[in-house]
Structures are given as structure tokens and as C-alpha cells.
């Protein structure tokens, strides 16, 4: 089975590091395709790398996550985007989903939370 390529969009280095660690722990399934530290870069990287899934932070400089989701979805409506954020109000959640995000993972989260969410998303896509 081919590993799923994941683009990590996250401005905090320690978060990026941790996500990599977590995805490596689930090493058989996932592969980090690349990183982006802001929305703009995320869109560019998406076009360049064409990953299977994007983990998207919302609060970022240059271009925020919501805007980046919109751009990516515009480019590829089939893009799979998992929002991973510390913002947790229903309004923020709603805004992200409306922009085109497929799921919403709230910080802080455990490795189990993350892998459950990824599996759920990919399964949904395969179906």
C-alpha cells in the first residue's frame, strides 16, 4: 500500500516537529510530503507537491489558514484538508468548514486523536 503524502502547514516549528514525529510513529501509512509555514507557501507547496492530505493551522502570518483553504480548494476541489488549531469556538470551526476544510482537530491532541482523524478522512475519501 502506498504511503499517503501529507503536507504540513504550521508556523510553529515545535508543532511541525511533533507532527512529523507522530506521523513517523504511524510510519507505515504516512509520509511527510513537505512543510509550509504560512498560507501562501501552503498554496504554492500544494500545487507543487500535490499531497494526499494537508494539515492546516489557522493562525499564521502572510496568509491565514482559512484563506489558504479557500485557495487550495479553488485549485483542487478534491483536496483533503485537516485543520489543526488551537482556536476552538463554534464560529471559528464553522468558518473553517465553510471555507472547505474536511475535518477539524482541536489542539491539544494526542497521537491517537490525530491518527483516528486521518484514518477517518482517508477512509471517507476512498469510499
Amino acid at each position: 500500500m502506498q504511503k499517503k503524502r501529507i503536507l504540513i502547514v504550521e508556523d510553529a516549528a515545535y508543532m511541525r516537529e511533533m507532527l512529523v514525529e507522530m506521523l513517523e510513529q504511524e510510519g507505515k501509512k504516512y509520509e511527510v510530503a513537505g512543510f509550509a509555514v504560512d498560507g501562501k507557501e501552503a498554496v504554492e507547496k500544494y500545487k507543487e507537491l500535490k499531497p494526499d492530505l494537508v494539515t492546516m493551522d489557522l493562525v499564521m502570518e502572510v496568509m491565514d489558514g482559512i484563506q489558504a483553504i479557500r485557495e487550495i480548494k479553488k485549485h483542487d476541489p478534491n483536496a483533503l484538508i485537516l485543520v489543526i488549531t488551537a482556536l476552538g469556538t463554534p464560529e471559528q470551526r464553522k468558518a473553517a468548514l465553510e471555507a472547505g476544510a474536511d475535518e477539524y482537530l482541536w489542539k491539544p491532541f494526542t497521537i491517537k486523536n490525530l491518527s483516528d482523524m486521518l484514518e477517518k478522512l482517508l477512509r471517507k475519501r476512498e469510499e
Partner: protein
């Protein structure tokens, strides 16, 4: 008369002429026969006639006859005899003529008098009628013809009875005339030829013959129908006047110039008693001479007087109008109209008093007051207005209201003023008031129209200080709002920034669990995770409260089963309870409600976890829900330490902690109950608690089953 006179003359003259001729022929005849003596006697006949008819002229006939006789009888008679006889003839004629002349003169005089009387009678404007004792009309003059319609020829010789409306009247008049010898100003009614009644005024005198026996009456009468009508009219008018005077609400009385009361109307009689016929000053005032205030003299000079009289006796004030009233006989009486104005006077007094009272209020009011005339001139100000404006009232006099208004506010205030006059516009208007030396004061004014909206009264309140305070306050408010926004922004950022580091803590802890660890290592990891979760919970609560404060939280309604929710909550909290060996008992009927499920879960979680937290080991926690129809009532009972009574009202307040020491048992920021309160409030319910120290607490809340 003249014609009949001529006829009479000719007639007599012929008789006389033939008598003289007959005498001459007879004398000639008998003289020719020698018989002279006897026949001279014949001559006396014409002389006698002439004497009677022509008086002194008879002498000429006597002379003629004597001459004729002398000539005829001369041949046969002695001349002396003839002469003697002739002389006798002439003498007889003369005597006869003289006597006749004298008598004729008396008759003429009588006749003249008669003509004169006739003329008077004829030309008299009064009817003059002579009636004899039998009631037969003997004389009827022109005036009688005029008003009776009968001519003299028609009535002379007929009975006068038919003239009277009352047939017995004729006899009655005669009887009075006989008894009294005359009749004066007797009023009766007669019928004229057209049988119409004519009112007459009659005077009559008894006519007597030379022996003093009554022979008839002469009656002088006048048609007084018009006068009667006039009198009737006057009487009617007088009656009407009296009726008016009687029915007047004012008192009316009339006194003659010598102070005699001639008339009082009912009002006055009711007030003073009937004094008609009395002397006014005696009756009304108990005085012996006219009152000093009496206006009789002036009224008698035909002046109308008006004055007020205060009766000390009655303690009443009257408004009197006194006016001259001309009587039929030309004298003047005084007509007085009395109006009781005591009440009015009293009201005037009261009004005056009220005015004074209001003036005091006006003057000493703590608001500046001024009266604005129609031309916008300020006519009256109070002390406070002087203080406000800095001008004395003498200086203000003549100033225009608009002089006190700052130019930029003038149009607005004028518009407000005009609209207030029409009864519209808001009650108050704030503008810049220009006081002495151009000092600006902020005033709140209220303009109220008075007296047909021509004038207005303006009340002005100096709100300069207030305005400054208001400005300060507004500034403070703005600052506070800014601060609030900053706080919210800060909290949002802080929330995000506080949560973000939690992510690697929790994340790495979960990662570490995947490694082979010692039991101790696993325990450490577990503790790290537990603390991180607790920190997360507190941050969440703070965020939620901040959101509630900025009204960002809305209910997401759905139908769900209350027992289901409670079971879920209890199940999630059971491990904790089990640790403390507590028992949770639940008494809930099956209830479906429409509410925000997540928030309902939060409410129950908070209350039950609190109960677990504060209940000692082996304690019992009770959850009871009551279906009350419209809503449900939830009661969570614990057997914990209880809450001191003084803290009860505050436990739902934010950050309120019963025990503020850092050494308190369970870590909490005291946000749980305030979130419960806010969520219950959002649903339209109520939350409260009762407690007994050392025994436990009861937390209640209600929640409607349906949201409106």
C-alpha cells in the same frame, strides 16, 4: 241765511206796499163818499207793520200816509183835524219804530252771540252734543260727525241710546249729570255708524231753564281711542319692564328723587325685605338722612353712576349701576341695578393671593425662569435668571430672549420655541446660553406656552457642570469600551497562545506512551497529561465566559432526552466518584426537552463534578429531576462540607471562591458555577442553592422544556 233775509225783505215790502195801496184806495173811495173819519184807522195797519219790520223807517211811511191823507181828505175835512190825525199817525209810527229798533238791536246781539257760539261749536275739535231730558239729541256738531260718522241731520231728534256700547250707559250718564250737575272726564265707549267702538272721554253739564229746571245736558267728548291704545301700550311696556326687572338675577329697585322706594324686584325683596313705599336710607341703612355715598343727586342730573358698595351689615359687596328713569309726569327716578359680587370679589382676592403665592415660587425657584412675550422680549425674570445671566432685572428689561442664545444655536432654539408654541416638539432643548461678558453656559431649557400660546415661560437649568461631567463620563466610557475591546482581544490571543503550548505537552505525552516505559515513567506521563487537561479546561471556561460577556454564545437547539444526558454525564464522572467511594443516585422520569444539548451537558457536568469534588469519601450524591409541565426542576444534592450562608448568594459569581487560600483542597478558578448560571440564564431558567454546613448543599436549576 243771507238769501232767506232778502226773501223776507221783499215779501214784507210787498205786503207793506199793497197795504199802503189798499189804504190809499179805500181812503180815496170813502173820502169821495164824504166819509172821512173811520178810515184813518186803516192807516195804522201799514204803519204798525212798518214799525215792526222797518223800525225807524216806519216814520217815513207814516209821513207819506199823513201827507196822502191830508191831500185826499182836504176837500172834506177840516185841516186841523186832518193835521191832528196825521200827527198822531206819525207819533205812533215813531214810537213803534223806536221800540221796534231797540228790540231788533237786542235780537241782533243775541243772534250774533248765537252765531259766535255756533262757530265755536262747529269748529270745536271736541264733539259737542246737546241731549234733552228724554235723551233726544238736539245738537250735533262737526267733530261729533267726524268720529261718530253720523251727520247732524241723521241724529238730531233721535234717541242717544243707540250710541253707547252699553245701552244703559245713556241713563247712567244722565243720572250722574242730574245728581252732580256735571260730569267730568268720564270714560265710556260708544259705537260709531259702522258699529265700531270708539273710546271717548266725556264731560257734561246740565242745562237749566230760567226757572232752574233741568232741560237737558250739553256733552263735550273726545275720541281717546288712540290715547287709550297708547296708554295700553305704555302699560304693557311697563308691565314687560317690570317682568324683566322681576326676573333679573340682579337686584333692581327704583327710588324717586325724594328717596321713596317705588319698586323692588324679587331678588332685592328676598335680600332686604319688601321696602316699597319706604324711604331708602331709613329702610336699608337705618339712617335719618341720605347716605353720604348716595348718588341720588348725580342721577337726578341724568348721570349714570357705577360704583361698588360694601354692606357691612350683610358682609357683601355689590356692584351698583344707577341710572335716571324718566317718569310719565316728567320727574326722574333712580333705577338701581344691584349685583352681588361678593363671590367674585372673594375669587379676585383668592386669585390675587394665588398670584402672589406663585410669584414667590417663581421668584425663589432654583431654576432660572423668564417670561417671553410674543415679540420675544423678556418681560419677567426671577432671581435665578439674574444669577444665570449676570444681569440685573432692570438690565434685562427690554432685552430679547434671542440675545441670550449663542449664535450657532439660535436657529435650533427658535425652531424649538415655535414648535413648543404649537404644542409640539420635545419637552427640553439644550443650548449655549450667553451670559454677561459673553460667558457661555450650557443650559437645558423647557419652553411652555401660556395664555393662548402668545407668551411663553422658559425654565433654564444650568447644566454646564453636568455637561462637563457628562463629557468626562463619555470619555471614560469610550476609554472603557476601548479597554474592554483590548481585554477581549487580549483574551482571544491569550487563549490561543496558552492553548498552543498545550498541544506539544499533550501530544508528546501521548507519543511517549508508545515507548517502552517503566511504571514510574508511565505514571509521570499520566500526571503530565492530567495537569495539561486541567489547564485546558480552565482556559476553555475563561474563553466561554468571555464569549458569553460579548454575547457571542447562542443556543443551538435540539430535542433530546434528559435522562440520557444525565446518564452520559454520570458515566463520564463515575471513575472520579468511584475513587472517592461515592454513590450517585439518580431519580429522573423520562423527559424530552428542546435545548442546547452541549450546554445542558456542561451544566450537569459542572454541578455533578462539583458535588463529587466537595463530597467526602463514601458520600452520596443525588440527582433529582422533576417534571413541572412547562419546565423541569433539577436538584443536585451532595453530602459535602456545605457552604457558609454568607457565601451562598455569591457562589455563582465569576471567580468567586469560598476558600481563597492557596492551600484549599481542590484547584479551581470558581468559573464552573458561573458558566452554569449563564447557560441556565440563556435557556430562560433560574439557578440557586441552599446549604447546611457539614451536612451538604443542594443546587437547583429550572429549565423550560421548550424555547420560545
Amino acid at each position: 241765511m243771507e238769501k232767506s233775509g232778502v226773501k223776507e225783505l221783499n215779501h214784507r215790502f210787498l205786503i207793506l206796499f199793497f197795504a199802503v195801496l189798499a189804504c190809499a184806495i179805500l181812503t180815496f173811495y170813502f173820502a169821495s163818499k164824504g166819509e172821512t173819519r173811520v178810515y184813518t184807522h186803516l192807516f195804522y195797519i201799514p204803519i204798525l207793520l212798518a214799525g215792526v219790520w222797518y223800525r225807524k223807517k216806519a216814520i217815513y211811511i207814516a209821513l207819506f200816509l199823513s201827507f196822502f191823507y191830508i191831500i185826499v181828505t182836504y176837500p172834506w175835512t177840516h185841516p186841523s183835524d186832518v193835521f191832528a190825525r196825521s200827527t198822531i199817525l206819525v207819533a205812533v209810527a215813531y214810537v213803534l219804530g223806536f221800540v221796534s229798533e231797540k228790540r231788533a238791536k237786542g235780537e241782533e246781539k243775541l243772534k250774533e252771540t248765537k252765531y259766535y257760539l255756533d262757530d265755536i261749536i262747529k269748529s270745536s275739535a271736541d264733539a259737542i252734543v246737546v241731549v234733552d231730558m228724554e235723551g233726544i239729541v238736539r245738537s250735533w256738531n262737526k267733530a261729533a260727525e267726524d268720529y261718530m260718522g253720523y251727520t247732524a241731520d241723521e241724529v238730531i231728534g233721535t234717541s242717544n241710546k243707540k250710541f253707547f256700547a252699553d245701552p244703559e250707559e245713556a241713563e247712567r250718564i244722565m243720572e250722574i249729570a242730574l245728581r252732580a250737575g256735571e260730569l267730568k272726564n268720564y270714560r265710556t265707549t260708544v259705537l260709531n255708524k259702522d258699529k265700531k267702538p270708539v273710546h271717548i272721554n266725556m264731560s257734561a253739564a246740565l242745562l237749566k231753564d230760567k226757572n232752574g229746571a233741568p232741560v237737558g245736558t250739553v256733552r263735550v267728548s273726545r275720541d281717546v281711542t288712540k290715547e287709550m291704545e297708547l296708554e295700553k301700550k305704555i302699560k304693557e311696556e311697563r308691565d314687560n319692564l317690570n317682568l324683566i326687572l322681576e326676573s333679573m338675577a340682579d337686584g333692581v329697585y327704583i327710588v324717586s328723587k325724594d328717596y321713596k322706594v317705588e319698586f323692588m324686584n324679587k331678588v332685592l325683596i328676598d335680600e332686604f325685605g319688601d321696602q316699597v313705599g319706604g324711604i331708602c336710607y331709613k329702610m336699608f341703612h337705618d339712617r335719618e338722612e341720605p347716605c353720604p355715598l348716595c348718588k341720588n343727586t348725580e342721577v337726578m342730573k341724568e348721570k349714570t353712576m357705577r360704583w361698588e358698595w360694601h354692606s357691612r351689615r350683610k358682609n357683601k359687596t355689590y356692584d351698583l349701576i344707577e341710572t335716571p328713569l324718566k317718569n310719565i309726569d316728567g320727574t326722574i327716578s333712580k333705577l338701581t341695578i344691584f349685583r352681588d359680587i361678593s363671590k367674585r370679589k372673594q375669587m379676585e382676592e383668592e386669585l390675587k393671593e394665588a398670584k402672589e403665592r406663585y410669584m414667590v415660587i417663581f421668584e425663589h425657584a432654583l431654576t432660572a425662569l423668564c417670561v417671553i412675550e410674543e415679540d420675544k422680549k423678556v418681560s419677567l425674570v426671577n432671581k435665578e435668571f439674574e444669577t444665570l445671566s449676570g444681569y440685573s432685572r432692570e438690565e434685562i428689561e427690554g432685552k430679547k430672549w434671542t440675545e441670550f442664545i449663542a449664535e450657532e444655536d439660535l436657529e435650533r432654539v427658535n425652531k424649538y420655541h415655535d414648535e413648543r408654541k404649537k404644542g409640539g416638539a420635545p419637552a427640553c432643548c439644550v443650548f449655549k446660553f450667553v451670559s454677561r461678558n459673553g460667558e457661555i453656559k450650557h443650559v437645558n431649557t423647557c419652553i411652555e406656552p401660556i395664555l393662548d400660546a402668545k407668551r411663553c415661560i422658559a425654565s433654564l437649568l444650568d447644566i454646564t457642570e453636568l455637561k462637563m461631567k457628562e463629557d468626562d463620563l463619555r470619555e471614560t466610557c469610550e476609554k472603557l469600551a476601548e479597554l474592554d475591546k483590548m481585554k477581549r482581544d487580549f483574551l482571544n490571543v491569550a487563549y490561543h497562545e496558552m492553548r498552543s503550548p498545550l498541544a506539544p505537552i499533550v501530544g508528546y505525552a501521548s507519543l511517549l506512551e508508545r515507548f517502552k516505559l517503566t511504571d514510574r515513567g508511565r505514571k509521570y506521563i499520566h500526571n503530565i497529561e492530567k495537569c495539561a487537561r486541567q489547564l485546558e479546561k480552565m482556559i476553555n471556561r475563561m474563553l466561554e465566559l468571555a464569549r458569553i460577556d460579548s454575547r457571542k454564545v447562542e443556543l443551538i437547539l435540539e430535542e433530546f432526552s434528559i435522562p440520557g444526558v444525565v446518564w452520559e454525564v454520570v458515566k463520564s464522572l463515575e471513575p472520579e466518584a468511584k475513587k472517592k467511594k461515592q454513590k450517585i443516585s439518580i431519580v429522573i422520569p423520562e423527559i424530552e426537552i428542546q435545548a442546547d444539548k452541549l450546554k445542558t451537558v456542561a451544566i450537569f457536568t459542572n454541578l455533578i463534578s462539583n458535588a463529587i469534588k466537595y463530597t467526602l469519601e463514601k458520600g452520596i450524591i443525588n440527582v433529582m429531576i422533576e417534571d413541572r409541565g412547562e419546565d423541569i426542576r433539577v436538584c443536585v444534592t451532595d453530602t459535602g462540607i456545605g457552604i457558609p450562608e454568607e457565601h451562598l448568594p455569591m457562589i455563582f459569581e465569576r471567580f468567586y471562591m469560598v476558600d481563597t487560600s492557596l492551600t484549599r483542597k481542590s484547584g479551581s478558578l470558581g468559573l464552573g458555577l458561573s458558566i452554569v448560571k449563564e447557560y441556565v440564564k440563556l435557556h430562560g431558567g433560574r439557578v440557586w442553592a441552599t446549604s447546611e454546613l457539614e451536612k451538604g448543599s443542594k443546587f437547583f436549576f429550572t429549565m423550560p422544556k421548550r424555547q420560545k
